[in-house]
Point group: C2
Chain length 334, copies 2
């Protein structure tokens, strides 16, 4: 990675000085795999992390497990979420588990405190401790459990050889039209299959155009998951967070992943976007995805949400702006 450094996708200014930069690679592709634009190497292999949750959820719908369990669009949105751990998220996860005859200990995602201050405060006021339903990935894991209940394979559904994960891998590879370059274990203990940025962008373009890209249950599954995320952005991330605000403000479904990953599905333009900030910082990935959405007509540059992530003052502790975050020049032109 050292020999060919990726371009600067976000700039952090302080006064007159360019203080920090976020380099990265990004690809805009069509559903048939044509690369429309790229920064850095489109063949670069990354771990998509949570940015592939809507692809990991495909077996949930395609297998018939979602219908057998009577899941609604709210369940499906939560399956694709990296959520704040607010009551609307952890409560729905708890309810979902009960609906399929399971409970919190059946999850394998581990415990972390709610990502939002509101979620942490609510727990504190209630005198409760965080549990696995507050894990930002709990919806994905409820989905995995629902598939496991339908397909069988035992309780250790995060094992890479479990039928659930084999089905996930197949769906990812088919949508990306490539063989996964191995995998690593994600923060939530599930395997995360490595894909090229081009493959991930292509998968998102197909996800954005399910009826044109697929037939049968896959077309239906992609359409339902895409619709669920678009209809319930508050479940996909949380109030006040980029993952929710960008869906609301744009004509796209977007999803973040750890370590500076973002993807977007642009139905109107029939395009998919995938990007990875080299250093993994979300301030860089948020600036870059907002700029790419604007560049492809899915977000207005005078929208407050665009400004918040791609053209925003950095305030000091007395509320005075002495810094600025700006999408990289390579993304601003055009």
């Amino acid at each position: 990675m050292d020999a060919t450094a990726n371009p600067i996708l976000a700039e952090i200014w302080r006064g007159p000085i360019l203080e920090s930069v976020h380099r990265g690679a990004a690809v805009v592709a069509t559903a048939n795999g044509a690369v429309i634009e790229a920064w850095g190497d489109p063949g670069r292999v990354i771990l998509p992390r949570s940015a592939c949750k809507m692809l990991q959820a495909l077996p949930l719908v395609e297998s018939g497990a979602a219908d057998a369990a009577g899941l609604t669009n709210r369940h499906l949105a939560l399956a694709c979420a990296s959520h704040s751990g607010d009551e609307i998220h952890s409560g729905l996860a708890t309810q979902w588990l009960a609906e399929i005859g399971l409970a919190e200990p059946d999850l394998r995602c581990g415990v972390h405190p709610p990502a939002s201050a509101a979620g942490r405060d609510a727990l504190r006021r209630a005198g409760r401790r965080a549990n696995q339903t507050h894990n930002n990935c709990s919806g994905k894991h409820c989905g995995f459990l629902t598939v496991a209940r339908h397909l069988g394979g035992g309780p250790e559904y995060v094992d890479p050889s479990h039928p659930v994960q084999q089905a996930v891998r197949m769906a990812l590879e088919e949508l990306a039209d490539e063989t996964a370059s191995g995998f690593a274990i994600d923060g939530c203990s599930a395997p995360n299959f490595a894909l090229s940025l081009r493959g991930l962008a292509r998968a998102m373009a197909r996800f954005a155009t399910p009826r044109a890209s697929f037939t049968g249950v896959r077309a239906e599954a992609a359409e339902r998951l895409h619709g669920a995320m678009a209809a319930h952005p508050e479940l996909v991330s949380g109030e006040g967070r980029a993952g929710t605000e960008l869906i609301r403000a744009s004509r796209a479904v977007v999803k973040s992943g750890a370590e500076g990953v973002y993807v977007a599905a642009l139905p109107g333009k029939e395009l998919g976007i995938a990007l990875k900030i080299d250093d993994g910082d979300s301030r860089g990935s948020q600036a870059a995805i907002a700029a790419l959405l604007a560049r492809h007509g899915a977000l207005e540059r005078d929208d407050p949400v665009f400004k918040t992530y791609a053209d925003a003052p950095i305030l000091n502790w007395r509320g005075i702006a002495h810094g600025h975050i700006l999408a990289g020049e390579a993304l601003r032109e055009r």
Copy 2:
């Protein structure tokens, strides 16, 4: 900055995949300005941010203000600190202000919650709100106020034209042996003067060797500040934090700055180190400074503190290690 990318100074692995990298520039220099080793451009101009606090504190001692106010080594360590906002820090700042006949509203650093969870919990339990003494820079600002009281110039001591800031600029330029390349306003509202990495590393080498590098009040001031930081690492940062642990574990005085800056003064080796991670991430700067301290014999590679920052597992939410942070290959060899 785009044309010549800096080398990778820290690597973030997940399973078999190099997931993220932190690029940066670093310089190891002697007190006479000779560059012993460099990664990236030693002439690169950066904002040192809080990594220059010991230099910003020189006028406090040199002017006689510290002695006039009866300051101890604990006060001087706090003047050089980016502290956690624990009671030992905010309490000392409050006491210091009272000793010079001032109070919290005289500070101009602004309010932020204590950086440490323990500090925030203590405030919550006491039913108190954070004030400016909890700002990580409150000690530096107590120092500025002490100098202002001694030199005059009015209450707005963070104005770049105030005598305090003029004295700070002069001290920085003299130690770095260069003219500051302008300034920007720091998060705490004080001006932060831009220096080259080489200049900053040279300043740190001189700070490490005060009796050899200076005469008179400057030699005494640098020696006292250096001694104060070495004697009170718990005041310079806080329990469990890199800034404190690295001083305790190493034969060096180290100091972090925002946006991925670190400096170190190595008295035994008569060297100074300055580094800046391009993307501003502290996990990168901590790995790099630990590796550089080890490389120059000031920290053992089998020390748990070295391991914590430069060769550490990344655990998932179930406590299983699936990732690893490692100082960059360019720093590991030798």
